[in-house]
Subunit: 97 residues, 2 copies
């Protein structure tokens, strides 16, 4: 199992619209093969900063299965215009527990 962690920086004043769009976009990612679960968290210290955590069965489910899918175009259309700068996305494997 792989954890995708993305630091999202939403442009000032667009937080509510982003959160609404994310609700819609959630349905897209959730029906991707290899998707397990996701969480969106809002930062307490930095306005407009969010942490997206997605658990995937394996790395390729995200990097190939999702990102090269047709529905990824819809995900991009819903969300990418909110971000500045563009997100840093990394993948992790759990070592504890």
């Amino acid at each position: 199992m792989i954890l995708e962690a993305a630091q999202l920086n939403v442009q000032s004043g667009q937080e509510k619209q982003f959160e609404a769009a994310f609700q819609e976009a959630s349905k897209i990612i959730a029906r991707t093969p290899g998707y397990i679960m996701h969480q969106l968290h809002r930062c307490l210290e930095v306005p407009g900063k969010y942490l997206l955590l997605v658990q995937w069965r394996d790395l390729e489910s995200h990097t190939v299965g999702f990102r090269q899918s047709e529905q990824y175009q819809e995900w991009k259309r819903l969300l990418h215009h909110f971000y500045h700068p563009f997100p840093v996305v990394e993948h992790f494997e759990a070592i504890h527990p």
Copy 2:
């Protein structure tokens, strides 16, 4: 419930020692009042990079209860010398789901 997210950068060549020390340090954080659970993840793209996620009952359980405790001195002694640069630690509240 609050999520603490810390990006840890462990100095090159010290990853195995860090992971062993973290196992030991886990016992310290786990007995702090307000602690719920934690996970340590190793980055696939960046050598020496880790993501520590800790769930706390509330912000003060971490910022006051843990950081001002005696056992935090032991946590620091076990772990802080591995990090360079020093970690960025932020707190988040879940908005989805």
